[in-house]
Amino acid sequence: MKLIAIQKLLNATILTGKELLDHLEVKMICGSDLISDVLSFTKERSLLLTGLTNPQIIRAAEMIDLCGIVFVRGKRPGDDVIRMARERKIPLLVTELPLFESCGVLYNAGLPGCSGLSLATGGDKSVAAPRPS
């Protein structure tokens, strides 16, 4: 799904990267407020939904080639964070929806999470965690 469609679904405000929203294709979603979990479980072409607004979230996004970040609960990062994202061509959006509801909207719209697990297939916890691709 294109990032522009996600922006509309979440009625999100665009902080930076407006020119990229039409082009970026989002494959899956990660919702987390823990940086190591984001680094560990997120795959390429993922969109991150988070309440973290400090500069380290941009650093983490850069490391794993996220295709954008949506700040939930109406949380808005500082200008320094927006500037960092602009320099790295990482789109930033803000939605008033909390994390759970935002994830629900996108899941309902057909976007999967990053785990590759589903209850339909037994939610097998014994499946080895894949290496970051």
Binding site: D33, L34, S36, E44, D65
Partner: protein, 134 residues
């Protein structure tokens, strides 16, 4: 890098990533190196007094050394356990302290050596091999 300096934290990992991109290294390998290096750098910033990151690229693969002066790791097995963390409240408020740093590093590396001494410091050597072309 300095302990507790969250302003510049992540710059070394960012530089490592850019350098590997310039060298035309495989992108999946760059991702693994980037994640492991960032985690190692944040470990230095969160837990140590100061430290350094050294990148070495040669025909055999990519090696990243993360070495610090600091309190060391008293129980390495415990530190390698997913979920265990001694991060400060300040670090936790920024989204760190999930207790996934060293487990993440282990997952991303092909070979990991950790040499640590309490009240002296920690040396982490992370080795990554190039993907085999078939």
């Amino acid at each position: 890098m300095e302990g507790n300096n969250f302003t510049t934290a992540g710059e070394a990992a960012s530089r490592v990533k850019r350098t590997l991109q310039k060298l035309g290294i495989d992108s999946a390998l760059i991702r693994r190196v980037s994640i492991a290096t960032y985690e190692a750098e944040m470990n230095i910033v969160i837990h140590a007094e100061y430290g350094k990151i050294v990148l070495q690229v040669d025909a055999g693969g990519v090696t990243v050394l993360a070495e610090d002066r600091g309190k060391g790791i008293p129980d390495l097995n415990q530190a390698m356990t997913a979920g265990f963390s001694t991060a400060s409240d300040r670090a936790r408020a920024m989204g760190f302290g999930a207790g996934m740093g060293l487990p993440n590093i282990k997952k991303c590396t092909d070979q990991l050596e950790i040499d640590t001494q309490v009240n002296v410091g920690t040396k982490v050597v992370m080795k990554f091999t190039y993907p085999t072309t078939s």
